[in-house]
Symmetry: C2
Subunit: 419 residues, 2 copies
């Protein structure tokens, strides 16, 4: 745990432009009143000096404000840093203050600004850890959600949506508590790993004494040269059947919650799935493809030629056999009838200390308007899924991700207005 850093310091939200605008009235001790951020900006302290460098980085930026949070239907970036946090407080008010504090910081991060602008006062810890200074913001998106355990801890179980509960145990689950659960999630995605990590590190630091990281996981997506669907570490294209991220009507069916304080929010399911690469690599291509129900090279479903060709899961060949094997991952997932928006990343670093195999796999993330959609798919896979031979689920968590933030509001405001 880190010690709380100076509150005044971390809450300062003053850009070089603001300083220049304020020159006429003096930069020190001036309270910024009504702003676009709805009162969460506090008065500047007297230790604000002329910034020594412009804190604004070059921008390939994702909008912070909007109907929905970023990082859900945002085009998938190359890197993720996913963190599951536990809270160290027990009151709803503390939670509200946390989200009020985070809101302008998330906006700054997504704008490619430092958490606070640099000053010439070097006698205190810096307000921004600095490793993203001078870098492109790299399409950083930040998605915040709350887990079922949080509501119980804060004594607000009556506000917990019925859908928000720990996932059931699935056949073959081997969950480890160090990768499972959590009160709050931060999903930071960017086209640079340091930008994503910087976001999580600084949000956690800004909440020092209030939260601690329970578990976290970095991941990557590598895109083919033609910009198509990335391949996972089994070399199969991952995410082909997703809803189109611009198809609002379909997303309303699959992703966006349409009621209560979570309206225009969604549920995030995270699963840390180890992929047994050595076992997979000993398997013939034929068996690998039968495991997915798709061809590795093209990504086409069995019996078809192109990745996005539609298919009839019940279609049979002239011998009466399923064209897409009924133990294949795609067959079983489709047969469930449930749909989800997948937004997964691969991970690979190190070897398992007990077996020497690659410590590699998928940080599976999906968004859905009800976690039951994920549960339906997973139950359909059940014990039949041929994929079970090659993977082990090591971690699991579910979070309710707030709707987007409007100017003048803050993350999760609807929750705090609910009774």
């Amino acid at each position: 745990m880190t010690e709380p850093i100076d509150e005044k310091w971390i809450n300062k939200k003053v850009s070089r432009r603001d300083i220049l605008k304020l020159t006429g009235v003096g930069a020190a001790g001036v309270a910024i009143g009504a702003t676009s951020l709805g009162g969460v900006i506090k008065a500047m302290g007297s230790d604000v000096f002329e910034p020594v460098a412009d804190s604004t980085r070059a921008i390939n930026k994702v909008d912070f404000y909007g109907k929905y949070q970023s990082g859900i239907t945002t085009p998938v970036q190359t890197n993720i840093y996913f963190a599951s946090l536990d809270v160290l407080f027990t009151s709803k008010k503390d939670l509200q203050e946390l989200f009020q504090k985070w809101t302008p910081l998330v906006e700054r991060l997504m704008n490619g600004e430092l958490m606070v602008d640099l000053t010439t006062n070097t006698r205190i810890p810096t307000g921004d850890t600095g490793e993203a200074a001078g870098m492109d913001v790299a399409n950083l998106s930040i998605t915040i959600g709350v887990g079922p355990s949080l509501f119980d801890k804060l004594g607000i179980s009556h506000l917990k949506p019925a859908e928000l509960k720990d996932l059931p145990h699935f056949p073959k689950d081997q969950l480890q508590k160090e990768f499972t659960g959590g009160d709050i999630c931060i999903q930071a995605c960017a086209d640079d790993p340091q930008v994503a990590f910087h976001a999580v590190r600084n949000l956690v630091r800004a909440a020092s004494g209030k939260v601690e990281i329970k578990w976290s996981q970095a991941g990557f997506n590598s895109f083919p040269a033609d910009g198509g669907t990335p391949r996972n570490l089994f070399a199969f294209k991952d995410g082909t059947v997703n809803p189109t991220i611009t198809d609002e009507k379909d997303l309303n069916k699959v992703v966006w919650v349409d009621k209560g304080w979570l309206k225009d929010g969604t549920y995030l399911v995270a699963r840390k799935i180890q992929m047994h690469l050595e076992t997979w690599d000993r398997t013939s291509l034929k068996d690998q493809e039968a495991t997915f129900g798709r061809y590795r090279d093209s990504g086409a479903p069995f019996g078809k030629t192109k990745e996005f060709d539609d298919f009839d899961v019940e279609a049979k060949d002239s011998k009466g056999e399923y064209i897409m094997p009924d133990t294949s991952h795609v067959h079983l997932a489709r047969k469930s009838g449930a749909r989800i928006l997948r937004r997964s990343y691969s991970y690979a670093s190190g070897v398992m200390s007990n077996t020497g195999e690659h410590d590699a796999g998928l940080i599976f993330i999906s968004f859905q308007k009800d976690p039951a959609q994920f549960t339906t798919v997973q139950n359909s896979l059940g014990r039949l899924d041929k994929m079970n031979e090659y993977i082990t689920h090591r971690g699991s968590a579910v979070f309710a991700c707030f709707p987007g933030v409007q100017k003048g509001s803050y993350l999760g405001e609807a929750l705090f207005n609910a009774v």
Copy 2:
């Protein structure tokens, strides 16, 4: 451990162009004789079919052939996958066969080709794990070296250079055996994490039953928008004082070995260094800068204004105090008089299970013509280095990296010709 895969399969080296050229005489059962690869290519078996896809990926490629191996003076890429392997055999001949097998595979990987071309035979494990298919080769470099333990295992200690020995214990070292030592290293660097991982995974797979991974580490470098020196996770620019990678004369002084079978090779030192980010983040900027002896924002040495300004480590101010504190990292490193070529990467994923702090830091890699150069620097840092408060060395290894490969030769040939 994985089981050996079909020898014939993995040794096949036949491109789409070759197949087309061979069409006139039939593609199956034709032995390719004299080639540019010096006899390491074996005859194609009878299960070679017409490729179903072109295996050549788009290329931002680094040359495989040359006086020196790639990945040493190659411009630093954004990603590394570093693996330290143990061998499972005990003869020099096995080692020679391994490097003869790897040589054309390393060339293929660096050319953006699959390990073997695709065929329509899907009843056997694929010769390439496939996750890099269709991707840019992303400036992949592959650097191979041998550790001191290897010579003892194979009974060829007389061939071990006097310089190649485990590093001494340094003050504050807390080495863990799961990140220390190894018989062979593969350093794969690329501007994509999946391309780097794919290279290591496939080389290890091709040597199944011959080697196993002892430890491995993924890492990243994130470049500022202006393309300058990347910042490490302490937010300081890392690698400023490196020799210029195009200054052959200087590199001959610092990096390239000039004698024996390792002539035109170099020594790689790898250190897994945990960086205690939470402690660092509680420290004032003033103290952080005094720890390095450089300004965080500009990277300039104390008393100077620009990153690459030279400095006199003994210079004092009007009060007789060192301008660059004599406990600073840069002061002590410079004072040692030794120089090395740093080529480090950051890592950040997960939290330490015992403390909950970030599991983050530096996979420090340096190249030098004698590991004693690193030892001299490290001994100079010793117990004085203010940095010691913020870092812990967790892993260590040293390898002799072969000279580059000429056409018709193979990795490490000079070692096998030595007596």
